[in-house]
Symmetry: C2
Subunit: 286 residues, 2 copies
């Protein structure tokens, strides 16, 4: 049972981490936007398996929200998050910085990380600037915490692939681990944004995962191509009340496009759809 330490400033995080490092301990970082659920706890357990000390950050990062997005209403539950982590006894250090702590030169005067072309595909088409914002904050968190291991969730698969790319491309001395998606009983991937769903929407929200799963089975059986099957999947989503954004089959490793003949390498099926106020995303291996 670990006692939870708390830090707000980059300086105090550094001091603590450097004491641990001097003692030869390995550090893991789990960056979050708070409003912690079982998905986050699963990442934290993975972190604890791969390091001696676990740092969890909570920061609702303004640079990854578009002007029309939900930063104002994004669920914030700092007391509950703190209590949950203290009770779990896995996290060693909870880092809750302010906007000024992370962006000392303000949002407009800040250095921005521009990721390669994949930022404009999949979720990037409806969320311009989102992934560059994620990269810009994760790079800062990595520089502050200097962890040996970074743990992120497989639910945000495009984000995970882009962060892995940034890490390799910028030669950041950190290993990235992907934690499996944690789901509700009906298959809905856990997400803070699920709270936006009305009870009626929540009833049908599992359809996104069901549709992707069914599509993956059909693709595995080799009956038809994604181009043939995707329109039917979109229809199923529309029937359930979703407004589909995309359903795409990609190479799992780098999210490269899949052309006619399926390549002999892991593939992944990704989908995003609005349901009421919530934009839900999910993915399944093929």
């Amino acid at each position: 049972m670990t006692q939870l330490l708390r830090a707000q400033t980059p300086g105090s995080v550094r001091e603590q981490v450097s004491a641990w490092r001097s003692a030869g301990q390995r550090i893991a970082l789990v960056p979050t936007m708070g409003n912690l659920h079982d998905g986050h706890l699963s990442l934290i357990r993975i972190a604890a398996e791969h390091a001696d000390r676990v740092v969890c950050s909570i920061f609702v990062n303004p640079t990854q929200f578009g002007p029309s997005e939900d930063i104002a209403s994004y669920p914030r539950t700092p007391e509950a998050d703190d209590a949950l982590l203290a009770e779990q006894g896995i996290v060693d250090l909870l880092f809750v910085p302010s906007e000024d702590d992370i962006y000392p030169h303000g949002l407009n005067g800040s250095v921005v990380v521009n990721l390669p072309a994949l930022v404009g595909e999949l979720c990037g088409r409806s969320r311009p600037g989102h992934f560059n914002g994620v990269a810009s904050v994760v790079l800062r968190l990595l520089n502050i915490v200097t962890p040996d291991v970074l743990v992120v969730g497989r639910k945000d698969y495009q984000q995970a692939i882009l962060l892995a790319r940034m890490i390799r491309d910028l030669h950041l001395p950190v290993e990235i681990l992907l934690g499996d998606t944690v789901r509700e009983a009906d298959g809905l991937a856990m997400s803070s944004r699920n709270q936006y769903l009305t009870p009626a929407e929540r009833e049908v929200a599992g359809t996104l995962h069901a549709v992707l799963q069914e599509l993956a089975v059909q693709l595995r059986n080799g009956g038809a191509s994604i181009d043939k099957l995707a329109p039917r999947a979109r229809e199923q989503l529309v029937s359930a009340g979703f407004k589909p954004d995309y359903i795409e089959l990609r190479r799992a490793r780098e999210l490269g496009a899949v052309t006619s003949k399926l390549p002999d390498e892991p593939l992944i099926l990704l989908g995003a759809a609005w349901l009421g106020r919530a934009r839900l995303i999910d993915n399944v291996p093929v």
Copy 2:
């Protein structure tokens, strides 16, 4: 007298640096584009004063050259550089990576660092993309070498200020030190690009420094404003055969603009001008 080690890959640099760090030693990095002269040697001596181990990198970084710039003709003297560093006995590790070592995903697929607005001012006006290219390579070198101290030259003052900004803004755990400009007898700041000068151009090249010095004295004496004095300075440069780019007075700390009344803080006078094939830059404190 230090024995010079050599490394080409990020992995081998990391291995060496991590051995030094385990022994509690401080590391300094001096990034260069090679073709080493006394200016570089002066930075290397500063590095040795502030760290136990000095790493010098030589990499002619393609992302900081514009399409019409001189990357093809930029002077490359790898054997002479190696011999000079071995003879000096100050540098511990010479890091000479290939383009693939630094940019494993190629130049087009690489993560780019976008610095704030100052990139488009002063030298940035005639060299679009230049400083973002510098930042993109220095960030990678910092991540590979993970030095405690970064030493850069005051001659490239805007570059130094932008790198300091990047370091603070991205919370990079490194201290930046600026080395004074080393000059030829006539005041010309040492630079690899001085080699582009014909003997006749070299004769007058010291005029840039002389003009800036004279202007600084006039400003210190408070006789007239920079707006009054700069046109005469430009004329002097034109008379000597230069094509002036800019002469500007700025706040030294962050290169902020100076308005009518001179603020009570350190100021710096910066100038750039073409002389034949060479674009010369210089700066003097006011």
